[in-house]
């Protein structure tokens, strides 16, 4: 990469991370205000992973995500208005208000959905890769999941399957060290995700997930291999979730030292330092963060003003065939 291109790419990463941070901060605040209903899982501190991976994907590539999917969706290009309205449960949400944060999806940009079930996205991504391969598409599938997900059966089944059929799928284990409120290493045996993946025929690479540039570079290599027909790969990105498990979890149970250390390794700040070293003016970076902030504030304003979905919408998108309303007395 020659220097200017490199700067542009770094700025892309910086912009994406800033937008994710701004989106989730705005959503968190709105949740505290009581205007975002239901559970909300944010990924503050983890933005480097989503940004670094998705920068290497095309719109035709597909991703599946987990319960913590805002960053993945935004990095994949999902529309902000549709996302924010979805979180608010309003008309114009990507899922028409039926999904909410835990079921964010934007098929128009290849975002095949968040998932409320841990590991739920693994077989779906594997199958998407199989379908894409069958249809001779050049697109690949990318599957985001947490470190907690590697203790569920679908991890084994999905990776074995992907290796067996040599499928174009890239697995991303976004390792923030916690499974809900439990430290993952207290419930996980053996040497870790890379060993597990390799035992299933899927080569893996570990990267510092708080270094967006490193993620970008590693993902770039792996995406090229996957797209080149070399079969599935796994990227293990070590990161840290600064906030709690859900918006209502103040994360008081965490070691403050760990949180402080993580804040010092904040992926956005780190990339900012690097960009400054490479000569980008601080003002330019600030402008970029401000514009992300404004974009998301505007999205909140829009979502707040958006109408609630009409009750009739509850009865749509169920099935083409078969009544949805109960033939007898029904709610």
């Amino acid at each position: 990469m020659e220097p200017t291109h490199n700067i542009r790419r770094l700025m892309d990463l910086y912009r994406t991370m800033s937008r994710i941070r701004a989106f989730e901060t705005a959503a968190l605040n709105a949740h505290k205000e009581g205007v975002v209903p239901g559970p909300l899982h944010v990924s503050i501190g983890q933005e480097g992973v989503a940004a670094g991976v998705c920068l290497n994907l095309t719109t035709e590539d597909r991703i599946t995500s987990n319960h913590r999917g805002h960053g993945h969706a935004l990095a994949k290009g999902a529309g902000v208005q549709g996302m924010m309205r979805e979180l608010f449960g309003r008309e114009g949400g990507h899922c028409r208000g039926k999904g909410g944060s835990m079921h964010i999806a934007d098929f128009s940009v290849g975002m095949l959905g968040a998932n409320g079930v841990v590991s739920g996205g693994i077989p779906i991504a594997v199958g998407a890769a199989q379908g894409l391969k069958m249809m001779r598409s050049s697109a690949i599938a990318v599957c985001f999941f947490g470190d907690g997900a590697i203790n569920r059966g679908p991890f084994l089944e999905g990776l074995n399957w992907a290796a067996l059929y040599n499928l174009p799928v890239l697995f991303i284990c976004e390792d923030n060290g916690v499974s809900a409120f439990t430290a993952t290493d207290t419930v996980t045996a053996g040497p870790g995700v890379i060993a597990r993946a390799e035992s299933l025929g899927v080569p893996g690479v570990t990267v510092d997930g708080n270094d967006a540039l490193a993620v970008d570079e590693a993902a770039g290599r792996l995406v090229a291999e996957v797209r080149g027909g070399k079969g599935p790969r796994l990227l293990h990105a070590k990161t840290f979730r600064i906030t709690g498990h859900t918006s209502t979890d103040a994360a008081a149970w965490r070691d403050p030292a760990d949180v402080a250390a993580a804040k010092a390794r904040d992926p956005i700040d780190r990339l900012g330092v690097l960009l400054a070293e490479r000569g980008v003016a601080t003002a330019d970076l600030d402008a970029l963060r401000l514009s992300a902030f404004e974009e998301m504030e505007a999205a909140v304003t829009d979502a707040k003003a958006a109408p609630w979905p009409d009750e009739a919408i509850a009865y749509e998108d169920v099935q083409d065939v078969g009544a949805v309303r109960f033939s007898g007395v029904s709610a």
């Binding site: 999904g99 199958g127 998407a128 598409s137 679908p154 169920v318 065939v321 078969g322």
Partner: protein, 325 residues
């Protein structure tokens, strides 16, 4: 269009074959399918369609189900073969939380066009883990179509509809009836979901049933007819949607309803039929409404024990007579 006599398993084989020839996005996956499937329902598919469309899989039920969904999301139409119904218990998250809900949760963006084939029912002393009938569960589950044919022609026509359906279809092959023969057309036309088949016409009593127990019902109806009791015998063919109009019209005529199910009676689909009829017609227009089914016990292995819990023509005749009393 010529018609020929084939077994039920051959009928569904021909249906899948026809659809895979018609539509290159249709494919099948499951354990041993490259070898033709456990019952020969995919016999000779591998040489014709190749290993990419006839995929023998690992013993990985959750991924068989979930990968089927993923493949549907990018535009293919997988037939997901579960081998024996009971094994779908290993893939329930993928079926119940993902396939059934994905279109709705995502506000219509996803179309999980899969057919999940689950040969079910009592099958010669296979015991508790290979004989279950839980089809009524899925009627209670929003997002899926539930298909329960009993004849070769119906199984073939409904499988064609299932493969062409954009809604996910749970197709319950009546595995005990695989060797039963019947006429099937050389070009298999789709049969619409939600239309019952009137297997026999009568006036005294309405017998409603579906799936593998239908032959016993028809046999019982013949016995009853010989004794002067003429039953309308309705084969529902699909449980969701189900032909409420046909059943209600028949009970309006006969005044008496007997639902016969191979599954456990308690909280089975028979309860839905009885309740719907009573609610729709009003109790005053129903002289009798009852259910016959298995007791609430797992299926035992030993022949006499299995026989004890099986619904038989004699038991159906007795239940029908009780309903006439």
């Amino acid at each position: 269009m010529s018609v020929h006599q084939v077994t039920l398993v051959e009928a569904v084989r021909l249906a899948a074959l026809q659809e895979m020839r018609r539509d290159p996005t249709v494919w099948v996956m499951g354990e041993d399918v490259a070898r033709g499937g456990l019952y020969g329902q995919y016999k000779d598919f591998l040489p014709e369609f190749g290993a990419e469309r006839v995929v023998s899989t690992p013993i990985s039920e959750s991924t068989i189900m979930g990968a089927g969904l993923g493949a549907a999301l990018v535009g293919t139409r997988p037939i997901i073969e579960m081998r024996i119904f009971d094994f779908v218990m290993c893939a329930m998250d993928e079926l119940v939380n993902q396939i059934a809900k994905i279109r709705y949760m995502f506000g219509g963006q996803a179309r999980p066009s899969v057919v999940v084939r689950m040969p079910h029912g009592i099958w010669r002393n296979s015991a508790a883990q290979h004989s279950q009938m839980l089809e009524s569960w899925f009627v209670h589950l929003p997002g899926v179509i539930v298909v329960t044919p009993s004849t070769p022609a119906d199984a073939a026509g409904l499988l064609v509809s299932a493969i062409r359906s954009d809604d996910p279809v749970l197709f319950f092959d009546p595995k005990n009836l695989f060797p039963v023969t019947g006429d099937v057309a050389s070009v298999i036309e789709p049969i619409p979901f939600g239309k019952a088949r009137l297997a026999r016409e009568g006036r005294d009593l309405t017998i409603v049933s579906w799936s593998a127990i239908m032959p016993a019902v028809e046999q019982a109806a013949a016995t009853l007819a010989a004794e002067g009791i003429a039953a309308d015998v309705i084969d529902l063919r699909t449980l969701w949607p189900w032909d409420q109009a046909a059943v209600c019209a028949s009970v309006e005529k006969t005044g008496r309803l007997l639902v016969v199910q191979e599954a456990v009676s308690v909280a089975g689909f028979g309860a839905e039929v009885v309740s719907t009829v009573v609610e729709t017609l009003g109790p005053a227009r129903v002289k009798a409404a009852s259910r016959l089914g298995a007791p609430r016990i797992p299926i035992p292995f030993s022949p006499p024990l299995e026989d004890a819990v099986k619904v038989t023509p004699a038991k159906i005749v007795a239940a029908a007579k009780a309903a006439m009393a």
